[in-house]
């Protein structure tokens, strides 16, 4: 059986720029400009990029929350088989949408503050007529338990919950219809760091339990490195590099990926580095430059980059990159980030290095307890 769950081909979404009294269209913002992606069943496929690169619009257009300007999104439905989401009729869409859900970025605006939590989670099931009455109530209780909340929370309103708990409610709602694919649109970027880890662990746990496939949209490279199996990097509406997490983080083949990785601060004060700074700003998607969109900021750019747009091509082992010089350039990956001093406290406990602080604190615990007696 084909293990591709989602195949995106040449997806385009242009937003018209309207001006004047008659609202004439004077141009287009090419938010998504010919994106190709292929997501395998059971994997976490991440899309990273800076703000305005079109990653969220890609996610929304895949679910057809935005009408596409062009392109195909083929989803492998469990009963209907291969369906092109972008041309599906309303009736078909209604049948496939239960299998494609979304978790939104902002847990404060994505829950209706006038509905109880139970009602929010029940809504997809009521609309799709899957459950009612007692069975519905049991399912809500089950879902709340699954995401780490308590069944009695169903009668409360969203305002009574913290950001992390609200994001759990959003996750429960997305799980309600037993989806196959969940588009996670920056699911942890609005959360505090201590809560972010909880939600990331929950997402990973749910993936194992319910055999979910994630399209994980994020701008945070360290979160992506932690959770993703494969990663696509987007720049000005286009995918510029796709590879496994290892390929992309440790042997990037596109200068933009290198620049992104280089900008990440090393979390060790003993390893202070000066990043390879990119000059200038991201070009406007309404008026992108000629040739390779990155040539205006690329430190390796040559004449050909200004004239010809490089295609996204396979440079071996299913590692795709859109650069004329992928084969020649020796780009630096993220290995400097893991080469930190051995005593760094952030290293997980399971690591071999013993914790000097740990022994210390154990000793002082003892003395503190003695002191209390």
């Amino acid at each position: 059986m084909d293990d591709t769950l989602l195949e995106v081909t040449d997806l385009k979404k242009y937003f018209p720029i309207k001006q004047g009294f008659l609202k004439r269209t004077v141009g287009h913002v090419r938010a998504v400009d010919g994106v190709n992606l292929s997501v395998k069943r059971g994997e976490t496929f991440a899309v990273v990029g800076e703000s305005g690169c079109g990653k969220s619009t890609t996610g929304r257009t895949i679910l057809r929350l935005e009408e596409p300007t062009g392109g195909e999104v083929v989803f492998q439905h469990s009963e209907l088989g291969k369906i092109n989401v972008e041309t599906a009729s309303a009736k078909v869409l209604r049948r496939i949408r239960p299998e494609m859900q979304i978790i939104f970025q902002d847990p404060f605006s994505s829950l209706d503050s006038r509905m109880t939590v139970g009602r929010i989670i029940a809504e997809p099931m009521i609309i799709n007529n899957t459950l009612s009455g007692r069975a519905l109530r049991d399912r809500i209780a089950e879902l709340l338990t699954v995401v780490g909340l308590r069944p009695e929370h169903a009668s409360r309103y969203p305002h009574a919950f913290s950001g992390g708990q609200r994001q759990r409610i959003g996750i429960a709602r997305a799980l309600a219809l037993n989806p196959k694919l969940i588009v996670c649109d920056e699911p942890v970027s609005a959360l505090d760091v201590s809560v972010q880890a909880q939600v990331l662990n929950l997402l990973e746990d749910l993936q194992d339990r319910f055999d979910l496939t994630y399209l994980f949209i994020s701008h945070d490279l360290s979160v992506v490195e932690h959770i993703a199996d494969r990663v696509a990097v987007m720049y000005v509406g286009q995918v510029v590099e796709v590879g496994t997490t290892d390929q992309l983080f440790y042997s990037p083949k596109m200068p933009y990926t290198e620049a992104l990785l280089s900008s990440l601060p090393t979390p060790d004060p003993r390893k202070r580095t000066r990043p390879t700074l990119l000059m200038g700003d991201v070009p406007s998607p309404a008026n992108p430059p000629s040739g390779c969109y990155f040539h205006t900021r690329c430190p390796y750019a040559q004449d050909i980059c200004k004239q010809e747009a490089p295609p996204l091509r396979d440079i071996g082992d299913n590692h795709l990159a859109a650069c004329h010089f992928s084969d020649e350039l020796q780009l630096k990956g993220a290995s400097r980030l893991s080469e930190v001093s051995a005593t760094l406290a952030a290293t997980p406990q399971s690591a071999a290095a013993p914790q000097p602080g740990g022994q210390d604190s154990a000793a002082s615990t003892a003395s503190a307890q003695e002191a209390t007696k």
């Binding site: 505090d192 880890a197 900008s263 952030a346 997980p348 602080g357 604190s361 002082s364 209390t372």
Partner: protein, 388 residues
Amino acid sequence: MTEATISTPDAEIAGDSVISIRNLQVEFPTQLGTVSALNGVSFDVPRGRVLGIVGESGCGKSVTARAILRIVERPGRIVSGDILFKPGRRKRGGAAATKPGRAGSAAPDSANGSVEGAGEVVELTALDPTGDRIRKIRGQEISMIFQEPMTSLNPVYPVGDQIQEAILLHQTPDRAEAHKRAVEMLRRVGMPNPERIAKSYPHQLSGGMRQRAMIAMALSCTPTLLIADEPTTALDVTTEAQILELMRELQEEFGMSIMFITHSMGVVAQLCDEVVVMYLGRVVERASVDDLFHDPKHPYTVSLLRSIPRIGVNRGIPLEVIKGSVPDPYSSVSGCPFHPRCPSAMKGLCDTVLPEETTIAGKPDHTVRCHLYPGSTPAQVASSGAGE
């Protein structure tokens, strides 16, 4: 209150610090009850260095910054405590950072001999928040960069005019001269074509450029202290790297002190010299950046460092989490504010007795507020055996 009041004689400032905050308490009386935003915060901002303030939302880091400038939002008010401010920038080797048109006794500091523009110690909490004195300090001596570059610039004035405003107010009444300095400042922060940018409106600039304009505005009067409240949180990684590099360069050049508020540990590691970790309106740990990362003491600091995904380290294994979440501000937690989430909480002690700040043996600059460390448990509690 178990809070021990540290008696600070008037106008005495610890070591060579720009700011000494002692036992600062800020409250927000609301209809739902009083929110104690700061419950006795004490720390110093060392002169000519970068102090990082870390903590999660609601820990009081922004309120502390606002209290220094006396711009705590209504209905918030400073209930007690002192904020002592001693002007003066550390002169860097060779860099002639003379401030033109600046009156004041430039009496060199006896200890270091290289402090420029030093002045009298000012007790900021005693000033009228709308008075002349604090208005002279704002922008001139202490300036602030806010988190949102989109909302903190005035949309109806060109960027150059907004930078000029501070210069006209504090340094020179000459418009042409002020304009020249504003353009120069924009050039310093790495703006391409500063003359044109000075005439542009904020909406014509990208997020990174707006933040550079904010920095130019904050630095236009070469302040003693720059408070940066999450200046890069709203920016992309590549822009963040540019801004951090810029702040590092300018700090070297001007020798000012920076109070850098952030929740990104990576940024702290790269930029700061010393770090203050806050939780629920209290300082839980203070240390040099090296100690904080390599030998953290407070369980909150340790958990915070471990819960962040790190590239190349925790792939495929679950992240360590801090259980629960920050309690809502209306409730008050007895004992140590972190005890409900703490992996090493001791029953009968941590949930009833508030630990005091104690210095780690052998490290005079490293303090922690946790019962795990000797000296943190108040003496009378320790001796009377309140634990049983």
